[in-house]
């Protein structure tokens, strides 16, 4: 099956911006992504050890009032999974593979995927958000700290890019 090419980035950006604007005016908050892992982990910890979770500085706030998953951002990420899946299927891009440069082995790529993921999970907790919740949403609402966050995302990426270039180019 032929795959569709990607959209013009500016048009894709306008649609994404309209989704973000809809989130602001309907829900009164921006979009997010890392709330999902935070709340899922908090919910899982709550099942295994409710006392520890309630006393945890990171998770206590999610489990105090009802189901941590009954949350706008969590359901929004479920929507992202559905929308992303529909997009990939309709574009003929649903394909099981490991995305990498030909200069890197699959094992090495997956090791770095795990490492980068751990760093991001930590960073999104420390920074109270990730590229979606801080850089994109906070950027659009002109939050001062979010603009600082966004600049530092690019700074961190460019600072390390040279060392991991084999994975990508």
């Amino acid at each position: 099956m032929n795959t569709r090419s990607y959209w013009n980035p500016y048009l894709a950006g306008v649609l994404l911006g309209l989704a973000l604007l809809a989130a602001f005016v309907v829900a009164g908050q921006g979009l997010g992504a890392s709330a999902f892992p935070k709340r899922v982990i908090a919910g899982a910890c709550d099942v295994f050890s409710p006392e520890w979770t309630a006393g945890s500085a990171a998770f206590g706030k999610y489990v105090g009032s009802g189901n941590p998953l009954a949350n706008w951002l969590v359901v929004e990420v479920i929507g992202v999974l559905i929308g992303g899946f529909l997009g990939a299927v309709s574009a003929g891009r649903l394909k099981g593979e490991v995305v990498r440069s030909s200069n890197v082995t699959q094992g090495r790529r997956l090791f770095f995927a795990l490492l980068g993921g751990v760093i991001m999970g930590f960073a999104a907790s420390l920074g109270r958000g990730c590229t979606s919740g801080q850089a994109l949403s906070g950027g659009a609402s002109l939050a001062g700290g979010s603009w600082a966050f966004m600049m530092m995302v690019f700074a961190g990426g460019y600072a390390v890019a040279w060392f991991v270039r084999k994975q990508w180019i």
Partner: protein, 397 residues
């Protein structure tokens, strides 16, 4: 029916309906991310090797679109911006968190949001990235409880909502227009950088992801509409504000109900005496103001009651800021003195009138300081600021 945005904080839809909007808006978000190419780690990573800057273009077009929309709608009064959750500022953890997120982004090729899209595109690396993100969240939670230094870093900062328009002292719609124009310039630069870097990397034998979209017509359409959007924000919103100075909506309040609210210590109640002279109203915490120069510290969420000599016309208050809820005392200072500060003598044969007089005379005694409780006048009502220092723990991203 007042349909001013945002809807969920104003109680529209209820909880179930609210979550349905999350599903729909999230689906559009996910679809747009996929169509932009963000399910592909190599395309995202290309941003950091400068040969395909789709990440920058999509992200800033989205930011500009939502920002211009949000601040233009709020400029014309369709969005109540103080009900929209805006990320509070914790500068140090945001700076370090942002830097580490950028490091994790280029090491893994994906960020948390795009990893979800990549996962449902079938990419195994995205699954591993997400496993890592979950582990990282858990790691941070352990660290926050076990390492006092991490806890100190995480909680440092004021947690205030500091927006750039507030920090720079310019209106949101003008700043939005400025950011849009800057983005436009940056896009033109990015297009040039991409061409050069792609050619250079290819010459060096690099293995490039070749999915960059170079459809120039779409590019100019999009850039043109961005320009139009920014001009819309810069001119339309302030013009609408000027041409159509929104009259203060001030409702009337009668003396006795106001007296009861003062006695009940209603929070955020603020009473201003607009008369040039006179200190005879016996209202604790009464402020002074002139109709032409409102106090500088009026905040949204306050209930401001204005007292003139007699009746006050809201038209006289053209320069007063939008935000607080205004009420004018019906009958003004004169009515206050007659109905609150003067004891009422009821005819003894009418029980209803007697009861009413009893209530009124208790109120009268409270304000005149003859009642025992009123000897120590209550402190001025505490004004709760509605913006500027909102702290609301929330999942954030």
């Amino acid at each position: 029916m007042d349909l001013t945005f945002p809807w969920l904080p104003r109680g529209f839809f209820g909880e179930q309906g609210g979550l349905l909007t999350a599903l729909l808006i999230g689906a559009v978000f996910g679809f747009a991310l996929e169509r932009a190419g963000f399910g592909n780690g190599r395309k995202l990573a290309a941003q950091f090797y400068l040969y395909d800057m789709t990440v920058f273009k999509v992200m800033f077009t989205a930011i500009v679109t939502a920002m211009v929309g949000l601040y233009a709608l709020s400029g014309v009064g369709l969005v109540q911006l103080d009900l929209v959750w805006i990320n509070p500022t914790y500068l140090a953890p945001q700076l370090l968190g942002g830097f580490l997120l950028g490091v994790g982004f280029i090491v893994s090729g994906l960020c948390p949001g795009t990893a979800f899209v990549s996962l449902v595109s079938g990419k195994l690396d995205a699954l591993v990235v997400l496993v890592g993100v979950f582990l990282g969240v858990l790691l941070f939670a352990f660290g926050l409880d076990g390492l006092p230094a991490l806890e100190a870093l995480y909680t440092s900062g004021s947690g205030e909502v500091l927006t750039l328009p507030g920090l720079l002292g310019i209106s949101g719609s003008w700043l939005a227009a400025g950011v849009a124009l800057m983005a436009l310039g940056a896009f033109i630069g990015a297009e040039k950088v991409e061409e050069r870097m792609a050619a250079r990397l290819k010459k060096n034998g690099a293995d490039l992801d070749g999915s960059r979209v170079t459809d120039s017509r779409g590019k100019y359409w999009a850039m043109g509409s961005l320009l139009a959007l920014s001009l819309l924000a810069a001119t339309a919103a302030p013009m609408l504000e000027q041409e159509n100075p929104r009259q203060l909506v001030a409702s009337g309040v009668r003396p006795l109900p106001l007296a009861e609210r003062i006695i009940a210590h209603e929070p955020a109640l603020r009473i201003l005496d607009l008369r040039e002279a006179g200190t005879d109203l016996r209202i604790p915490g009464l402020g002074k103001a002139s109709p032409t120069s409102p106090p500088a510290d009026l905040l949204p969420g306050q209930h401001v009651v204005l007292i003139a000599e007699g009746d006050l016309d809201a038209k006289d208050l053209a320069g007063w800021p939008q935000g607080p809820e205004y009420e004018v005392l019906e009958g003004g200072a004169q009515a206050w003195k007659e109905q609150v500060l003067t004891p009422l003598e009821a005819e003894v044969y009418n029980q209803e009138a007697l009861d009413r007089a009893k209530v009124q005379n208790e109120i009268c005694a409270w304000f005149n300081g003859t009642e025992s409780k009123a000897v120590s006048a209550p402190p001025p009502p505490v004004i709760q600021p509605a913006v500027g220092s909102r702290k609301k723990p929330k999942g954030g991203c």
